[in-house]
């Protein structure tokens, strides 16, 4: 908690330092987004590849699974072989979903 407070204060201080150097000679061009020296012609559309959504969804599924590994990993010495078979079953079920995502091209980025 104390560490958190100190960290936030330090980070804010660093951010505050950057206020020292306010731009002195300003022209509107200076505040354009950088685009290789060309005046931007269009706004950022809300368009980006649907792949990113797909990755996000796959991540949700597999990350929850990865987190569920942790308590199991810690307790495995007590669970013995029972825990092993349980998890093997779980991994197989996951593997089916993984194979499906693979087969449908969920991990293909070059198309």
């Amino acid at each position: 908690m104390i560490y958190f407070t100190i960290v936030v204060v330090v980070a804010l201080a660093v951010l505050g330092i950057s206020r020292l150097g306010r731009a002195r000679r300003t022209r509107p061009v200076k505040y354009y987004p950088y685009e290789s020296g060309i005046v931007p012609r269009s706004d950022l559309g809300p368009r980006f590849s649907v792949k990113f959504y797909l990755v996000a969804m796959l991540f949700m599924i597999f990350d929850v699974e990865a987190v569920s590994f942790y308590p199991w990993a810690v307790m495995l010495r007590q669970l013995k072989s029972f825990g092993l078979w349980e998890m093997l079953l779980f991994v197989i079920v996951l593997g089916i979903g993984y194979a499906y995502a693979w087969k449908r091209g969920g991990f293909q980025w070059d198309r």
Binding site: V8, Y31, Y32, Y34, A73, G83, L84
Partner: protein, 327 residues
């Protein structure tokens, strides 16, 4: 009570100052090392051997004009580097640097706090760092930044899976997720030996997680200018750099803790051992940057999902089978 608070404050301050200094000299060290790889002397003008270079860079950064793009979302734009830096500093808090020190008849753990799910804590906190990147990329209203932010978020979350699973084997062997317990469990042998595959996967994913070469797609300068921090100037740009380097130190520290026995080692004081191990990892980071070309983006994603993830799962299950059936 008051004493513990004072000790905590002192420890926290020492750690923050240490990390920021380490950041400064890591940039210097990296420039020197990279220069040597290319038969150049590297920075050598400011102070003896260029040792004052980080200081000069810091002053230069502080004096740079602050520019906030007119179209940027002001608050999010300011929040993004803040998130990056805070999160990077916080994550290191759970890593122990040495065994409890005895000072004035008290035992002081050399660690800011010791959650009993230390591994999970570090992963959870450091994965918040992706908000810094994606918000920074989005709020700048710049096409390169947006692409860089998107790429890096997709990359970071993809490699996080394999990273999380690569350490599951260590948790099985140690029977605990607390970092001090894991270190104590390595009294006799380091976990690199039984968990070599897990260790390799961890190192690869750690490089990808910190957006370092050859996985530095988010800031591929030839195609994306500078990626998510294209529009940042001065200290705010420096905050992203700080976050990146401190994250490097954190993942190296975590690697030393989980796989190389943390502070264990003969002759030298434990704290020094920890530093040496972290230093070796940091050198490997630079070495790889000097050696390997950048991956293509589709290869990068395919590698994470199709190669690392299955291997990590199989490795975890093999470790589990070994532990569960051996007794």
């Amino acid at each position: 009570m008051l004493l513990t608070v004072v000790i905590d404050i002192v420890k926290s301050l020492i750690l923050v100052i240490f990390l920021l200094t380490a950041f400064a000299y890591l940039t210097y060290g990296e420039r020197k090392v990279l220069a040597r790889f290319q038969f150049r002397p590297g920075p050598n003008r400011v102070g003896p051997f260029g040792l004052l270079q980080p200081l000069a860079d810091g002053i230069k950064m502080a004096l740079k004009e602050e520019i906030i793009p007119a179209e940027a979302d002001r608050y999010v734009y300011l929040l993004a580097p803040l998130i990056s830096l805070v999160v990077a500093l916080l994550a290191f808090g759970a890593i122990p640097w040495g065994p409890p020190a005895h000072l004035f008849g008290r035992s002081i753990p050399l660690q800011i706090f010791n959650p009993n799910v230390g591994v999970l804590y570090i992963f959870a906190i450091s994965s918040l760092g992706v908000y810094g990147l994606v918000l920074g990329g989005w709020s700048s209203q710049n096409k390169y930044s947006l692409l860089g932010g998107l790429r890096s978020s997709a990359q970071v979350i993809s490699y996080e899976l394999a990273m999380g699973l690569s350490v599951a084997g260590v948790l099985i062997l140690a029977g605990s997720a607390s970092l001090t317990h894991i270190i104590r469990a390595q009294d006799h042998y380091w976990f690199v030996f039984p968990e070599l595959i897990g260790f390799l996967i961890y190192v690869i994913t750690a490089i990808a997680e910190t957006n370092r070469a050859p996985f530095d797609l988010p800031e591929a300068e030839q195609e994306l200018v500078a990626g998510y921090h294209t529009e940042y100037t001065g200290m705010k740009f420096a905050m992203f750099a700080m976050a990146e380097y401190i994250n490097m130190i954190t993942v190296s520290g975590l690697a030393a803790t989980l796989f190389l026995g943390g502070w264990h080692g003969p002759w030298l004081p434990p704290f020094l051992w920890f530093l040496i191990k972290v230093g070796i990892f940091l050198f490997i980071f630079m070495w790889l940057r000097a050696t390997l070309p950048r991956l293509r983006y589709d290869r990068l994603m395919a590698f994470g999902w199709k190669v690392l993830l299955p291997i990590a799962v199989v490795n975890t299950m093999a470790t589990a089978a070994f532990v569960a059936l051996s007794r």
